[in-house]
């Protein structure tokens, strides 16, 4: 079924029309290669989150197809699909009544793992996101800082050994220093574990720093797709240039300071 060497995710001419005729997404095609991070960038309302939610079927596409590991997601059980794919959302989305360990363990538990395996896996994940289980496993989310909660969110998404992680503005609620640290740690994790990721962001600098591929969306359509350097060198439209202007200006300012 899965084609080794083929893309992890192949989005083919997908569209989404809501009842009432609002077209949120029009004819979007994207590919995510194994181990890569694709950033969906654009302003709020451009349709990027809708594309993300169609991948694990939190929303169903109105047209086109989405192929994950060689299988059309339309033919898969949504719950099983979601358990195979990691999900990280803005502002952590942790369950406040469960401890850190229980939050991380929830998917392995639903997948029916042995208790000892679940324990080993949660310890491993917490170590990986630098929250030593001896200190953190028994705490509740309310007792953690924003950055620590987001780390738990990553640990939870990775606990079920997914090939693909979907992230909706995962860093936007964090302060700049924490955000920078976590962005770098996430890339390190990805390099270590080899999973692929799709990240929705409105922050162009974040997309440039983290992504292997960037797709810029406007009014439900992709207006340019490419690597960060391709975008910087050849912005397709004035709109893309405009989005890139802020990070460019910041880079120039910093370079002048360092000179």
């Amino acid at each position: 079924m899965s084609e080794p060497g083929g893309p992890v995710l192949d989005i083919r001419a997908v569209s989404k029309t809501y009842p009432g005729g609002v077209e949120a997404v029009r004819n979007v095609s994207l590919q995510v290669e194994r181990g890569e991070l694709l950033a969906l960038a654009g302003e709020s309302g451009c349709g990027k989150t809708t594309v993300l939610k169609m991948i694990n079927r939190l929303e169903d596409a109105s047209g086109g197809s989405i192929v994950y590991e060689g299988r059309d997601v339309a033919g898969l059980d949504p719950v099983k699909l979601r358990r195979e794919i990691g999900w990280v959302m803005q502002g952590d989305g942790l369950f406040p009544h469960l401890t850190v360990r229980e939050n991380v363990a929830i998917i392995p538990r639903l997948l029916g793992w042995e208790a000892a395996d679940i324990r080993d896996r949660t310890d491993e994940m917490l170590d990986l996101v630098q929250l030593p289980p001896s200190d953190y496993a028994g705490r509740h989310p309310g007792e953690l800082s924003g950055g620590q909660r987001q780390r738990v969110g990553f640990a939870r998404a990775l606990a079920g050994k997914p090939d693909l992680i979907l992230m909706d503005e995962p860093f936007s609620a964090l302060d700049p220093i924490t955000r920078d640290t976590l962005q770098q740690e996430f890339r390190a994790l990805q390099a270590e574990l080899g999973f692929s990721a799709v990240m929705v962001t409105h922050d162009m600098a974040e997309a440039l720093i983290m992504a292997d591929q960037i797709a810029v969306m406007l009014d439900g359509e992709i207006i340019q797709q490419g690597t960060p350097s391709e975008l910087l060198e050849h912005p397709a439209t004035d709109y893309v240039s405009g989005l890139l202007e802020t990070p460019r200006r910041q880079m120039r300012a910093i370079r002048e300071l360092g000179a």
Partner: protein, 526 residues
């Protein structure tokens, strides 16, 4: 006072256990109904609005009215069932509302995270939403518990035993210790159950299994102890047996269960206790259903929920047969007996010998000052007078007939419990009252009963009525027969006075009455 305290204490196991069983079953059923309904409605805003409105309407019905309504709605059944249904309905609103509010109050982000990581709807409900809504649901449960335990005291008039028996009986017999018993134990039970639920919630939140087990064992023990008497043969008869020789006389009802009913005032308690003594002497196991509402008592007899009670010819005539016109005493008795037998198979065992009529009474000095001797004399003064009556009198045909015959329409009417009527007229808070002519307080407070020259007021001869089923048991009629014609008005008034103004309990007054009847050579002919 000590005898009173001992007697109240002896009633406690019976009343408290019945109260526990009634409230706990009502609350548990309420939970079983409201929580699933709340879960279902939480995701359906329209359904949520409809169910909450229905529950709110039920809640606005006063507790006593809801309980009373259940009797006709359940086809005249009295006792546990109507009380259970009414209290269960009462518990629905707080639990339902808090289940809906608790579930709707969960942040959408948490719900989306649960979906996004692959929880099924069922997992999401049980592992995320219900635990998060639990504190709110439990708060509703605690409210419901306090309401139900409190309202269960109102179950007494529909024939369900509860701690309310203390309160209703105490109010009627001016036995404030009894009222206090009811209040203290009802409040205590509410507090204990409320705290038990609170501890269960803490145990659930902090996963303290030991604590949860402890509270669970306590609650289970409380219910088990309360239910136990229902499965053990429970002899509810008066422990103090009268010095009677009749025990040998009765044979056929020995060991059988007989249920004696009584309405909610002193004279009825005494007569209920008297019948209990006679039946117990004949070897029957007697259950008492005190404090029944007037028409509820009749319905209960008709359906066989109770076997016997004392009613009055005029009451049956006016409120059951719906015959407004007054009629000669003996004709009324005969017609009523025939009608009861033909319509319902109810047997009128006979007249006790006294009449307890509605009369209109004033302070003797006030009546003299106003030169009032009879109801005729009241008409010119009617606009300036206030008349007090018990809760049912102003709704009865006798009042309308009297009012219209004597032109009493302009009088201001004021309703209060029978207990307070006599002191209200004595203290000048009202000018005239509707009085029972056998009440001991008429003489004690020096009240004058006004004449009825037009003979508008029907006769009220006290009669023992037997249910259709009880009528088939000759031993039962035999045990009660010596009471027929044995109680004159003066004797009844004295027995009432002993309770209302002395410090005797109805059981003590019944013992006195019993001894007095037995000491006579035989029943007097009316």
């Amino acid at each position: 006072m000590n005898a009173n305290f001992a007697e109240r204490l002896a009633e406690l196991p019976h009343f408290l256990s019945a109260h526990v069983v009634l409230s706990v079953t009502a609350i548990l059923t309420g939970i079983a109904l409201s929580v699933p309904l709340g879960i279902h409605a939480a995701q359906r805003p329209k359904l949520a609005a409809v169910t909450l409105n229905v529950a709110s309407v039920i809640q606005t019905i006063p507790g006593l009215a809801l309980l009373a309504l259940m009797v006709p709605l359940l086809g005249g059944t009295i006792g546990y069932l109507p009380a259970f249904v009414a209290l269960m309905l009462y518990s629905v609103l707080p639990i339902l509302r808090n289940t809906i509010v608790g579930l709707q109050g969960i942040e959408p982000q948490i719900r989306e995270a649960a979906r996004g990581i692959g929880l099924t709807d069922r997992d999401r409900l049980w592992q995320i939403e219900l635990p998060l809504a639990l504190p709110v649901i439990v708060a509703g449960l605690r409210t419901a518990t306090v309401w139900v335990v409190g309202s269960a005291t109102l179950a007494t008039p529909v024939g369900a035993t509860s701690l309310g028996n203390y309160i209703f009986a105490g109010l009627q017999t001016r036995n404030w210790l009894s009222v206090l018993f009811g209040c203290v134990f009802a409040a205590g039970l509410a507090i204990v159950l409320d705290q038990a639920i609170r501890l269960l919630e803490i145990a659930a939140r902090d996963r303290r299994r030991g604590m949860a087990m402890g509270v669970g064992v306590f609650l289970a023990a409380l219910v088990a102890v309360s239910v136990a008497p229902r499965f053990v043969s429970f002899d509810g008869s008066d422990p103090a047996q009268g010095p009677l020789g009749e025990a040998a006389a009765a044979r056929s009802i020995a060991g059988e269960r007989v249920v004696v009913g009584a309405k909610a005032y002193t004279e009825q308690y005494i007569l209920g206790a008297l019948m209990e003594r006679r039946l117990a002497a004949a070897g029957a196991r007697v259950d008492r259903r005190d404090n029944l509402g007037s028409t509820i008592a009749f319905d209960a007899l008709r359906t066989g929920e109770i076997d016997a009670y004392v009613d009055f010819t005029g009451t049956i005539w006016a409120t059951v047969m719906n015959r407004p016109e007054p009629i000669d005493r003996y004709v009324m008795f005969t017609e009523m007996s025939a009608w009861l037998w033909q319509e319902h198979g109810i047997v009128t065992l006979g007249r006790l010998g006294y009449e307890n009529a509605y009369g209109f009474a004033m302070r003797r000095d006030a009546a003299e000052a106003l030169e009032v001797d009879s109801l005729d004399d009241l008409a010119p003064l009617a606009g300036d007078l206030v008349i007090g009556g018990d809760p049912e009198v102003f709704a009865r045909a006798e009042w309308t007939a009297t009012r219209d015959a004597y032109g009493l329409g302009p009088m201001e009417t004021r309703t209060m419990d029978n207990t307070f009527l006599y002191s209200a007229v004595r203290d000048g808070q009202v000018d005239v009252i509707t009085a029972y002519t056998t009440d001991g307080r008429i003489a004690a407070f020096d009240l004058a009963v006004l004449d009825d020259p037009l003979a508008v007021l029907p006769p009220y001869d006290a009669v023992i009525l037997l249910s259709p089923e009880a009528a088939q048991r000759p031993g039962l009629a035999e045990a009660l027969a010596p009471l027929i014609g044995a109680i004159d008005a003066q004797t009844m008034r004295e027995a009432n006075r002993r309770v209302d103004l002395g410090d005797q309990t109805p059981a003590q007054a019944a013992a006195w009455l019993d001894a007095r009847i037995s000491s006579r050579t035989g029943p007097e002919e009316p």
